[in-house]
C-alpha cells in the first residue's frame, strides 16, 4: 500500500516541479487525443445524425457495422494502421509512422465509430412525434437538425465523453504506430507501460495519477456542459 502513497507523492512532485519530460508527455497526450476526438466529432456527429434520419437500402447493415466499430479492438487498429504506414506500405512515402500524426490517425479510427454509434442512438431516441411537430411548425432541414441535436444534448455529450475516454486510455495502437519514442511519441499511457516494465512502479503510478486527473478535468468540463442547470 505504501506504493500507492509513493505514487501519489511522486505525481505531486512531478507536477509541482514542472518536470519537463512529464510535462511534455502530458501535453502530447492532451494534444494527440484532443485532435483525434475533435476529428471523430467532426465525422461522427453528422454521420450519426444522417444515419438516424435517412432511409436507404442497406441502412441496417451500415448501422450494424458502426455498432461493431464501437467495439473494435484498438490493437487491431494499431496493427492495420502500422501496415498502412510502413515504409513498404501504401502510405509509406508520407513517413508518418512513429510520429504523433500516426497516433492521431489510429485514435481517430477508434473514436469515430464510438461517436457515430452513440449519436445515432441518441438521435433515434427522440420520439417521432417531436420531429413531426417541428416539421409541422415549418422547420427547414437545417433547423430541424439543429433542434434535434439540442434536444439530444444529454446523450450526445455522453457520446463525446465516450469517444474521448476510449482514446485517452488507449495504449496498444499508440504503442504500435507511435513507437513510444522519447520526446517524440511518448504519451501518458505508453510511458506508464514502459515504467512498469522497468520496475519503476512509483513513477508508473505517478503517471497514472496524472492521466486520471487529466481525464477527470476534461470530463468535468464536458459534464458541466451536459447536465441541465437547475435554477
Amino acid at each position: 500500500m505504501t506504493l500507492f502513497w509513493e505514487g501519489l507523492e511522486q505525481a505531486a512532485r512531478l507536477v509541482l516541479s514542472r518536470d519537463a519530460e512529464v510535462f511534455g508527455i502530458t501535453l502530447l497526450s492532451l494534444g494527440v487525443t484532443g485532435a483525434a476526438t475533435c476529428l471523430a466529432l467532426l465525422v461522427g456527429l453528422p454521420l450519426g445524425t444522417a444515419l438516424a434520419l435517412a432511409r436507404f437500402p442497406g441502412r441496417g447493415l451500415v448501422i450494424a457495422l458502426v455498432n461493431t466499430g464501437m467495439g473494435l479492438p484498438p490493437v487491431v487498429v494499431g496493427l492495420l494502421v502500422s501496415m498502412l504506414l510502413w515504409r513498404a506500405g501504401p502510405f509509406g512515402a508520407l513517413e508518418l509512422l512513429y510520429t504523433p500524426a500516426a497516433i492521431v490517425i489510429a485514435q481517430f479510427l477508434i473514436a469515430a465509430p464510438v461517436v457515430t454509434g452513440l449519436t445515432l442512438a441518441a438521435v433515434q431516441a427522440i420520439p417521432d412525434a417531436f420531429r413531426l411537430q417541428m416539421q409541422a411548425l415549418g422547420a427547414s432541414r437545417v433547423q430541424l437538425v439543429a433542434v434535434l441535436i439540442r434536444e439530444a444534448r444529454l446523450p450526445l455529450l455522453a457520446a463525446v465523453m465516450a469517444g474521448f475516454g476510449a482514446v485517452i486510455s488507449e495504449v496498444g495502437a499508440s504503442l504500435m504506430v507511435g513507437g513510444n519514442i522519447r520526446g517524440h511519441t511518448r504519451v501518458l499511457t505508453t510511458a506508464t507501460v514502459l515504467e512498469t516494465s522497468k520496475g519503476n512502479f512509483d513513477r508508473a503510478l505517478a503517471l497514472s495519477v496524472i492521466l486520471l486527473a487529466l481525464s477527470f478535468g476534461v470530463n468535468w468540463a464536458l459534464t458541466w456542459l451536459q447536465q441541465p442547470r437547475r435554477r
Binding site: A88, E95, Y98, I181, S197, K198, G199
Partner: protein
C-alpha cells in the same frame, strides 16, 4: 562472412532501393530488455549530438526487431540472439554483424532452493536438477533473446520440461521475475533486470558465470534491398558508433553508479569465433 558479402552485392545489383542521401532519420530496432537497461538513453543522445542524425528507437521483442529489419522497416538493429541473427545474415537480410558487448544471465530461485542448484558450475546441470525434482520454473515464452537462450539450455540438457512445473509467462523480464517470485519458482534472468527488481523480490542468484549464460549483443545493418526508403548510411553510422572506442569505454562503466557494478562488458573487435 562470404554470405554477408554476397548479400551486399545482391543488394547493390538487385532491386533499386531508393537511397535517401538526405535522410537524417535512423530507425533503430532493438529489444525491450536493451531499452530497459537504460544504456540507450545514454548512448543515443550522444550519437545524435555527434552526427546530427535523429534516431527513432523502436524497442520490441527480438523476433519483431529482426522481422521489422528484414522488411526494411528499420535501418539498423541491436539485438542479443546470435543464432537468430546469424540466420538473418545467412539469408542476406542483415549485413555486417559486429559484436558490441555482453551481459550475463543468472539462474535465480527461492532461497530455500528445493532443487539444490546453488553454486552448480554448469547451467545445464542446474536445469537437470530442477527438472529432476519437478521444481517450479517460469519461462519468458516469448521468443525473446532470454527465451531463446533458455530453450537452448534445455535442449543441451536433453530435456523437454513438463507442463506441470514449467510455465510460460509470455511477458517481459520484470513481470516474469515477479511471477517466479510469487510462485517461489526458478527462472533465468539477465543480471541487469534482476538488479533493478532486487529489492522487490525474495529470489536470489543461485547459478552464474557459466559460459552459455553470457548474453552477446551485436549490431547489424539492414540490407537496403529489404525495402524502400532504408537509410543505409544512417544505419552504418550508428553501427560504427556502437563499436567505436569512445562508446565502448562508456559501455564499460555503465551501471556502476546505480548498481555498484557495470552491467555490460564491451567486446567490439573480438574474434567472432569466440562468441
Amino acid at each position: 562472412m562470404t554470405l554477408g558479402t554476397a548479400g551486399l552485392a545482391a543488394g547493390l545489383l538487385g532491386r533499386p532501393a531508393a537511397p535517401q542521401p538526405g535522410s537524417r532519420t535512423v530507425i533503430l530496432s532493438t529489444t525491450t530488455s536493451t531499452q530497459d537497461s537504460g544504456l540507450l538513453e545514454v548512448l543515443v543522445p550522444l550519437f545524435e549530438r555527434q552526427t546530427g542524425y535523429t534516431v527513432k528507437t523502436i524497442a520490441v521483442g527480438t523476433g519483431q526487431a529482426l522481422a521489422l529489419a528484414a522488411r526494411g522497416e528499420a535501418d539498423v538493429t541491436l539485438a542479443h540472439a546470435p543464432r537468430l541473427e546469424q540466420r538473418y545474415v545467412a539469408e542476406g537480410k542483415m549485413l555486417n554483424r559486429r559484436l558490441v558487448m555482453y551481459n550475463d544471465f543468472v539462474i535465480v530461485g527461492p532461497d530455500a532452493d528445493p532443487a539444490a542448484i546453488r553454486g552448480t558450475p554448469r547451467a545445464v546441470d542446474a536445469l537437470r536438477k530442477v527438472a529432476g525434482v519437478g521444481a517450479g520454473f517460469v519461462s519468458r515464452g516469448d521468443q525473446s533473446g532470454t527465451h531463446v537462450l533458455e530453450r537452448a539450455l534445455w535442449k543441451e540438457a536433453g530435456l523437454e520440461p513438463a507442463r506441470s512445473w514449467y510455465v510460460e509467462s509470455g511477458q517481459g523480464m520484470g513481470q516474469t521475475l515477479q511471477i517466479a517470485d510469487e510462485r517461489r519458482a526458478y527462472t533465468i534472468t539477465d543480471r541487469g533486470t534482476y538488479l533493478a527488481f532486487q529489492r522487490r523480490l525474495a529470489l536470489v542468484i543461485l547459478v552464474e558465470r557459466d559460459r552459455p549464460l553470457l548474453n552477446v549483443y551485436a549490431v547489424l545493418e539492414v540490407n537496403p534491398a529489404n525495402g524502400p526508403r532504408v537509410n543505409p548510411q544512417g544505419g552504418k553510422a550508428f553501427a560504427d558508433f556502437m563499436v567505436a572506442p569512445g562508446t565502448q569505454a562508456l559501455i564499460k562503466t555503465f551501471g556502476v553508479d546505480r548498481y555498484g557494478q557495470p552491467l555490460f562488458v564491451p567486446i567490439a573487435g573480438q574474434s567472432e569465433a569466440e562468441w
